[in-house]
Amino acid sequence: MNIPFSRREFIKLVGAGAAGTALSGCASTPETKKPIARVIVIGGGYGGATAARYIRAWGGGAIEVFLIERSTQFVSCPLSNLVLGGSRRIEDLTMGYGKLRDEGVVVLHDEVTAIDPGKKRISLTKIADLNYDRLVVSPGIDFMHDQIAGYDAEAQKTVLHAWKAGPETVALRKQLEAMKDGGVVVLSIPKAPYRCPPGPYERVSQIAFYLKQAKPRSKILVLDGNEDIVSKKGLFLAAWNELYKGLIEYKPNNEVKEVLAKAGSVKTDFDTFKGDVLNVIPPQKAGSIAAQAKLITTNNRWCDVDWLTMESKAVPGIHVLGDATLSAAAMPKSASMANGHGKIAAAAIVAQLTGQPVNAQPVIANTCFSYVSDAEAMHVASVHRYDAEKKTLLPVAGAGGVSAKRNELEKSYADSWAKNIWADSLG
């Protein structure tokens, strides 16, 4: 049954809505004018928030945009490893959705329980069903704890992944603070693809940075499910050797298969490793609403899309963004890419709803920084252009690359990147 908003409720929700399209600089559509269409965006992370903001702006205020996000606060995964290292607080990475509201996006804090693509309608837990003309699903990732024996709900209380920034990040920092000097931190990395390819190695660096100052007799043991360091290998190895010699033991081809939470250990195919702090990052898949909506196309994990529009290859009329997508060749699951996906989808949706041709040649760029201490960082960059023949985004040959060496200027660029991508995604 479709229960539309009451008029009063709707006006309250949209409220200041029509106010601004700061992004486009165009005059906003008068509030009295009926919107030409409604777009609902599910998920207010880097992908969804960006899509909502840009559809609102590029639609000149004529397209009604609803953003459904269960959390009232956005917490950035990029930079969250610095909370573990101690040079940032979680509050520094936490923002609200007020500016998006000021720009006319209707932000609703609720959870979507079902998507009906036939009727173009979603169901939620707190408010009535909502109809849409186009739907954007940017669900992020869910964790496949069941792939690791013993990593059940009870074990998850003490063995943390902290691979979504928030309370777990703070809790893991507290575990590190509580650990005795001379303790062992075990950090396990799942097989690629996972969210943020260089992220685990940045985390190793940040934990080592903390141990070096506070607990120099301690050690961090890295159990990598991959055959080698997945991203920025030379740069990370140089940082570990030059800054944290003796603190880090790295073991490739060591996928954690079992967690023994009470014993404080993990098992690979070959060995059992004991640790005082266990940080086990499970394998990942598209956020659960993707499975509910039958958007998953590949390995029961990821959602394949048409890269011209970000439309699902499984369900027409639904656009999927960010880490949940089946990544194109050499495309990382990163905030930069999710932000870029949001813009491809925004341009396509505005074109589709206003009868314009869809951009036939999208180009997006990726810049990911890794902080290896409180003072130095390094980057990997790439440019991804649509290849009409292969019908996918491909990295432009000869473009992109990594830092020559970690340095302090890169750190200031990384800080600047964060400020700008936060403002670009959230207003």
Binding site: A347, N359, V396, A399, G400
Partner: protein
């Protein structure tokens, strides 16, 4: 169709395939990803100078100098190589037309 006409038709086809000058959002769409470091529409949110409102000639020259190794950079020498000349011109025109605030 005579040879000149054919050549003209082909040239028109190629240039439209490369630069799509007919698409009014060509520059806007190309410029959008730059925002993650340079700020929405080139208006910086902290740490870097605005590229919004700078002269198009100047912006295009910087991109080509980065690309051709004439101006050293930390990141832009890698990013600029991802763009063709018509794309660089479209980016420069877009940012030049934005208000710096």
């Amino acid at each position: 169709m005579n040879r000149t006409l054919l050549a003209l038709a082909l040239a028109a086809l190629c240039s439209s395939a490369q630069a799509q000058p007919a698409d009014p959002n060509f520059g806007r769409n190309l410029a959008a990803p730059c925002a993650m470091c340079h700020g929405t529409n080139g208006v910086n949110a902290g740490g870097l100078p605005n590229i919004a409102g700078q002269p198009a000639d100047h912006l295009a020259k910087q991109m080509r100098d980065f690309r051709d190794g004439k101006r050293p950079a930390m990141i832009m020498h890698q990013i600029s190589k991802g763009y063709t000349d018509p794309q660089i011109d479209a980016l420069a025109a877009f940012f030049a037309a934005q208000k710096a605030k």
